[in-house]
Symmetry: D2
C-alpha cells in the first residue's frame, strides 16, 4: 500500500506518554489486542471501529466542500486541513480512502463505519451519486481485501442535504421520502457488497422543530412503513447484517422521535418491527436525553436490544452533541460490564463516533485521541473483568434479590401470584423489615476496581 | 353541610382582580362552566379536579404529621397551618374531608383525586390502615352523595412509608412487594366503593438510585407481574374504571422506569399490558424529562394512550418537580387543542396536581390559585376552539401533507410501496423541490389566537 | 434606490394573517411606530434593529462561502439561497448591502447591527481586509444617509477564523491577541465612521474547552488588558459610543468567561473597568446559563448595567443557542416592563439577533419573522404600559417592602443599623408574623394584562 | 468518654473491602493521615471535616422533629432511626453531641461544622434559643477540649423556620431581617466561644420564587447592609475567623442571589465587601449552576477567593442538590490540584456536606460513606501530587503561554501595550500560525495519573 505512506509518514511515533519516545505509533499502555480475558481476546471483546466522517471528512466545522458533510462548529471556519482533501471530489475521495486504511492499519483497528455520502461525493442526480459510490466502494473492497479490515456498519446520510431539511422518512412531501428510499436501497446494496455486519438508521431529521406545523401521527406511520420497505428489500437481496436504530433526543431537530432507547423500543413494538431491529447506543445521545452515561446501554441490553455502541462522550455541562473521545474510566468500566454480561456485542462493536476537537489540528492528534480512548476502554474492560471474576458485587446483588427465589417471591417471579395472596401474606407476616440499600458501600467497592 | 362553614367562612370574596371586590368567591373572569363550545359545556371539556394531598394535606414542607405525606420543601419547616389539622389523626382526617368538600363546592369543581394515605391515616398494621380507610371513605361517600362531587381517580401511596424506600413493586425484597400488593387490593376496593372513574399508578420509587445495586431486568419483570395482578383483581371485582400510569423521569429516584410517555408505552407493549392501561400525563414531569410542556400529551394522544392530565406546571429553569398552578396561556392552548382533537378526556380530566407555594400562607390563596389556573385553562380552551373552528392552521397542515393522499404517497401511506418503486420514482422525477416549513408563520398565526 | 427593488420585489404582500391579503408588506397588527405610550413613541421605546449576519449572510448552515460566517446547522448543508449571494465576494457584499437597506426600509426599522466580517469579506491580509471594509462601508454610509437608517452597534468577529480557535484576547499565543487588537482598532474606526451608537464585544472563544491546557488567571488578565487598550483607543479617536459586553455561558467554548450578567459585572469590577462598559443581554444566552428568560435583563438593570438587548429566544428544552425570533408575549411583557422602569434603553435597542429557521426558505419568511417578533414586542410594550399605569402590581410590591421606610427598617436601609440593635428589637418585639408571598395572586393579575 | 461507646459500639469493623474483615473501623485503603506529601501531611492538605446536620440530624427526610432540620426527601418519611434521637429535644441534643464526638474520634477526623439550630434546638423565643445554644455549646467546648477536635466553621440556619420563608436578610419585612441579625449576632459569639476557624453564610432563602413580587434592588442592598453589620460586630468582639459565602444557584429559592462564584464576587465588589469574605464552594451547587464540577473552585482560586470546600457531589443527570459523598477520583484529583497550587486551604478545609442516602439505613453506612469519600480524596491528592511533581502537564501549559514572557507579549502582560502596537505588529508579522490545543493529549496524560 504505497499510497498510504504519504499521509501519516511524518508521524512515526506518538509521544503523549512521558517516556514513550522510543515506541512506535501504536504505543498502547493498556490495550493489548491479543491478550485473553475471560476466554476471549481484548480485540474480540472490544471490536473497535473507526468512523469515517469525523476522522477523515472532518474539517473542524461544517465543511466548505459539500462532500464532507459532518463535523460541527456553528461559529467557526475549518481548522483541520488534511493532506487528502485535494483535487476533485472523486480524487480526494480516493485519497481519503487510502489515508483511512493507512490509519486503520497503523492503529491496529479491524473495523470502520461510514455514511454513503462521506465515502463518495453526492452527484447532481441519484444516478451519478450511485455511480460515485460504485466506483469508490470498488476501491474500498480492494483495500478491505488487502488489509483484512471490515465494515462494522454502513448508514445513509438522510439529513445533510437540503432536500431532507424537513425530514426524510417523515418528510411532509412524499417525493422526499421516495428519495430517501432510493438512497437506502443503494445503501443496502453497498452494505452487501462490502460485507457490512450491521446497517444503521439515525433519524437526525425524523422529528420536528415546531409542533404547530407537524402531523405526528402521519409522520410516525410513514417512518414505520419506510422501515418495513427496508426490511423487505434486505430480505429480498439476502443481506445478512443486523439492522440498528440509533436513538438521539434532539439536534438537529428540536425533538426526534427516536428520543432514547425506550422510545425506540416502544415505537418498534407498536409497529411490529421489534424482531428486525436492535439499537446502536451512543452515550453522548443518552446524556442529552437526561440519562446517565450508561443508562441506555443497560436498558437496551435488558430488553435484549443492545446491538452496538457508538463509544464517545459528551460533557455533562453542555447541552449539545460534542462527540468527544471517551476518556472516563468509570464510564467505560460500566459499559464493558454490561457488554460482558450480555456475552459480547457481536456482530456490533465499539465505534468511535468521536472527533478530535476543532483545536486539535495536528495530524498526530488523530492517533493520540484514538489511542487514548482505546486505552480507556481497555482499562474499563480489565476493571469489568475483575469485578465479574471477583464476584463480590454480583454476589451482593444476588443476595439482595434472593427473596424471589422461593415461596411467595417465586410466585411473583413466575407470574402466578394474586393480590389476594399478597394481602394474606401481609396479614400473616406483618410489616417488612427495612434493609439498607448500601449505595456508598457499592460505590466504594466499585472504586476499588478502578 | 354545616361543618364546612367554619373553614372557609372567613373568605367571602376573592379580590385578586382589580375590581372584583363586589363578587363572591367564584369570581372567574374566563371560566364559565355552563357555556357551550363546539357542542359541549366548558365544564365537560375541562373536567377539573382538585387534588387532596397538596390542597388539604400540604403544610409547606414534608409534614411533621406522618398522615400528611406530601408537599416538599427540603430546607424548611411547615408554614401552612390549616384549621382542619387538629385533633387525633382520625379526627383531623374527618375535618379535612369536610373542609375539602366545602372547598370543592364553593369552587364549583366536580371531581377530586386522592391517595389512600392522605384520605385516611396509615395505622400500625395493614388491618388498622384498612379500617381507617373504611371509616373515612364512609364519610366521603356520604359527602359525594350530598354534593354530587365525584372521584376522578384514586391512587395508592406506595412511596412515602419507609418500607418503600427501595421500591414497591420493584423492591428487592418480595415482602415489600407483597405489602404494596395488599395496599393496591384495598385501593381497588375503595375505588369501586366511591365510584372512581380512573385508578392511577405513579411509580415514584419504581426505579433506582444506583445502578450498582440494581437488577433492572428482575425489577421490570416484577413490576409487570404486579400490574397483571392488579388487572386480574380489577376484573374479578368488576371495577369499571380506567387504569392509568403516570410517567415521571426522576425524583425521588435518580431514575424511574416510567421515564416518559414513550418509555411507558414501550414497557406496556413489551409485557402485553397495553390494552389495560392509559397514561396520566403531568406536564411538570414531561419537562423534567427534557421535553416541551405539551410533548407527552401529544405523544400519548397520538398512540391512543392519553387518559388524563395532571394540569400543573414547573419552571423551565428548575430541575425538580415544583407542582405549580398552570398560568401560561400558550401551554393551556396547546393542551386543549390536543384534548379537543381526540374528542375529550373522558373518563379522565384535568386534575390540579398543584400546590400553593410554601409562602402562600393565606387560606384565600387556595382559592386564588385554583381560580387563576381554571381561568388560564378556560382561556386555553377558548383559544383552541377558535383555532380549530377557524381551520386556518389545520388547513395549512393538511395541505402540507397532501402528497400522501394519492399516487406514490398513497402507497406509502397504506404500506404497499417498495424501495424499488421509490428508486424508480426518483429516476423518473429527479430531485424534490425545497418547501419552506414556515415555522415563524405558524407561530405568528398561533399568537394571533392567544 | 433602484438596486433594491430587485431583491424583494416579488414579495408585495405578507399574507400570514387570515385577512391581510390586501395589505402591503408591513401589515403589523400590533406595532404602530408613531403611537405614543407614556410620553414616548413605540418606535422610541422599542428601538428595533435588524442584524446583518443572520438575515443577510445566513444560508441555513455554516456557509460554504467563508465570507458568510454565521448561521449554524451542524448537520446540514445550506438551504437558504439568497439572490444577493452572487458574484465575487466584494460584488455580493455590495448586493447584500443594498438588499439589507431595501429590507430595513420596507420593514420600517431604523437600526441595524453587523460584524466587521459579515459586512465585508476578510482578505488574505489585515491590510486587504481593512481595504474591503473601507470600500463597503463607504457604500453603507451613503445608504445610511439616503435612508436615515443608523447603526445600533458594530462588533468584530473574533471567533470564526481559524486563528481564533483557541481564543482571541485570551489566546495562549500573543500573536493571535495582537491580530484581534488590530482588528478591533479598525472596528472602532469603522464605528466612528458610521456613527455607531454602541460597540459590542462578544467573547465566543474567550473561555476554554479543557481546563487541563488552560491558565485561567493569565487569560483573564490578558482579556482585561485587551479591554483597556480598546478603551484607551476609543478615547483617543473621540469615539462616543457605549461599549457593551455580551454574556454567554458556553458554545462554542465549553465555558466562556462572560458566563452571565453577574460574571461580567464581577470581572469588570475586579479589573476596574465598570465605568467603561455596559451589557448587551441576549435572553437565549441567559436561559442557556440556567436562568429564566428575563433574569439577566433584570439583574443588569438593577446594577445599572443594562445597555442593550438582543431580542431573541431559545427553546427551553434545548441546550444550545437557537436564536429564534421572540414570539412569547409573557417574555416580552417582562422585558419591556424592566426597560420602561429604567427609562428606556437609549443608546441601546432591541436587536433581532435571530434567524429564520433553516427550513424557512422563502424570502417572505424574513419579513414574516420580523413582523411577528415586532408585533410580539409591541404587545409586550402595551401590556407593560398597562401594568405600570394601573399601578396595581407596583402598589402591592411597594406595600410589601414598606417596613423599610421607617424605624429600624429605615436604619437598615441607610446602613446605620447594628446587630446589637437587631437583637434589641427582637427582644422587644418577639417573633415576626408570617406574611403570604401571594405568588399565585401576582401571577393571576399579571395574566390579566396579557 | 464512656457515653460514646453506646452509639457505635456495635460497629467494630467495616467490611466493605473484600478482605478487610480483620481490620478495625478505620480501614482506610488510601488515606494515611500522617503520610507526608510535598512537605505536608495528608491530614494537613485535606483538613477533613464532618458536618453535623446530615450525619447527626438527618433522618432520611425533612424531620418530624423540628430540631432536626435538614435532610430532604420530599416524597418520603424518615428512614434513619438514630439511637441518639431520644428524650426531650435538649436531652437528644446532648446525646447527639456525644455520638458525634465518638464518630469524629473513631473516624480520625479533626474538624466539624454545624448550624446553630442543629447543635441546639430552637426555643419559642430568641432568648430561649440562645440559652439552649449556651448550654449545648458548653458541652461541645468540653468535648473539643477532651478530644482536640475543632470547629471548621459555624453557620446560622436562616432558612428552615417559617419566619424565613420569604428570605432572611432579603425578607420584605424588616422584622424578619432583624431576627436574622439577632441570630447571627449570637452565632458569631458562639463561633468565638468554640474557636471556629471560619463562619459561613449560605443564603438559601436570599433570592426569589417570583420576579413579580420582588424588588431585587432593595433586597440586594439589604443583604449588603446585613453583611456589613456582621463584619462590624465580628471586629467589635475580636472574632478572628474567616467569613465565607457559599454560592448556590437555586433550591429552595427559584433563584438565589449567590448563584455561583462569579455572582458572589460581583456582589462583594459592588458593595465593597470583598476584603472581608472568601467563598465556600460546594461542587454540587456548582454543577447545579451549569458548570463543571471543578469550575467554581478554579474560578474562586483564580480570584484569590477560595476559602473552603464542601466536598460532596451530585449526579449530573439530576437537577437538585443530592449532597452525595464524593466518589469520583477524577473530580477529587482536579480539586486537590487546585488546592495544592494555591498552597492549601487553611483556615478552610474539606467539609463533607454529604449525607448517606435515605436508603443507607445501617449505622455502619455512616462510616463506610465517610471512609469511601476520604479514600477518594486521598487518591485525588496522591494523583495531584504526582501530576505536579512530574511537571509534565505544568510544563506543557507553561510552554503554551510562553509568548507572553517577552516582546509584545510582555507588554500585553504588564498592561503597557496599545492597539496601535498590535496593528503594527500584525502589519509586520502577518498571520499567526495555527497551534493545536491538544486536548486529547492532555486528557490522555491526565488519565495516566488516575
Amino acid at each position: 500500500m504505497a499510497a498510504q505512506a504519504e499521509f501519516f509518514a511524518g508521524i512515526p511515533k506518538i509521544s503523549y506518554l512521558p517516556n514513550a519516545g522510543a515506541r512506535d505509533v501504536m504505543c498502547f499502555k493498556h490495550y493489548n489486542a491479543e491478550e485473553v480475558l475471560m476466554g476471549r481476546s481484548m480485540e474480540d471483546w472490544l471490536r473497535f471501529s473507526v468512523c469515517y466522517w469525523h476522522s477523515f471528512c472532518g474539517t473542524g466545522t461544517v465543511a466548505t466542500d459539500p462532500t464532507l458533510p459532518l463535523c460541527a462548529d456553528p461559529f467557526g471556519f475549518p481548522t483541520l486541513h488534511r493532506p487528502w482533501n485535494e483535487g476533485t471530489p472523486m480524487e480526494s475521495a480516493k485519497k481519503r480512502l487510502h489515508a483511512a486504511f493507512e490509519f486503520f492499519t497503523k492503529l491496529g483497528v479491524k473495523y470502520y463505519t461510514f455514511h454513503d455520502r462521506d465515502m463518495a461525493p453526492e452527484g447532481s442526480t441519484l444516478e451519478e451519486s450511485n455511480r460515485n459510490l460504485d466506483e469508490i466502494t470498488d476501491v474500498a473492497l480492494q483495500l478491505q481485501s488487502q488489509t483484512g479490515i471490515k465494515v462494522l456498519w454502513v448508514t445513509c446520510n438522510l439529513f445533510a442535504h437540503q432536500r431532507y431539511m424537513n425530514g426524510a422518512a417523515t418528510n411532509p412531501d412524499c417525493h422526499v421520502l421516495a428519495f430517501a428510499g432510493a438512497q437506502v436501497k443503494k445503501g443496502l446494496e453497498i452494505a452487501k457488497k462490502l460485507g457490512a455486519e450491521n446497517f444503521v438508521f439515525w433519524g437526525g431529521r425524523e422529528g420536528f422543530l415546531s409542533i404547530h406545523n407537524t402531523d405526528v401521527a402521519a409522520e410516525l406511520k410513514h417512518m414505520a412503513n419506510f422501515f418495513k420497505m427496508a426490511v423487505k428489500y434486505k430480505e429480498k437481496i439476502g443481506l445478512k447484517c443486523q439492522f440498528l436504530i440509533e436513538p438521539k433526543p434532539k439536534e438537529p431537530c428540536r425533538h426526534q422521535y427516536d428520543y432514547d432507547a425506550m422510545s425506540v423500543i416502544g415505537f418498534l413494538k407498536h409497529y411490529g418491527l421489534e424482531s428486525h431491529f436492535k439499537l446502536n447506543i451512543e452515550p453522548n445521545h443518552t446524556t442529552l436525553a437526561g440519562h446517565s452515561y450508561e443508562h441506555d446501554i443497560v436498558m437496551a441490553s435488558t430488553f435484549g436490544m443492545l446491538g452496538s455502541v457508538d463509544s464517545n462522550t459528551g460533557s455533562s455541562d453542555l447541552g449539545w452533541d460534542t462527540d468527544q473521545f471517551p476518556m472516563d474510566i468509570r464510564d467505560t468500566t460500566l459499559v464493558m460490564k454490561t457488554v460482558i454480561e450480555q456475552g459480547g456485542l457481536q456482530p456490533g462493536g465499539l465505534n468511535f463516533d468521536a472527533k478530535v476537537r476543532r483545536e486539535s489540528t495536528d495530524l498526530e492528534d488523530l492517533f493520540i485521541a484514538h489511542i487514548g480512548a482505546m486505552d480507556t476502554f481497555a482499562r474499563g474492560l480489565r476493571n469489568a473483568v475483575r469485578i465479574i471474576e471477583d464476584g463480590l458485587i454480583t454476589g451482593m446483588v444476588k443476595e439482595r434479590y434472593s427473596s424471589f427465589s422461593h415461596g411467595i417471591g417465586q410466585k411473583v417471579e413466575d407470574g402466578s401470584a394474586t393480590l389476594e395472596e399478597m394481602e394474606a401474606f401481609i396479614k400473616q407476616n406483618g410489616e417488612p423489615k427495612v434493609t439498607s440499600g448500601k449505595q456508598e458501600k457499592y460505590e466504594s467497592i466499585f472504586n476499588h476496581y478502578i
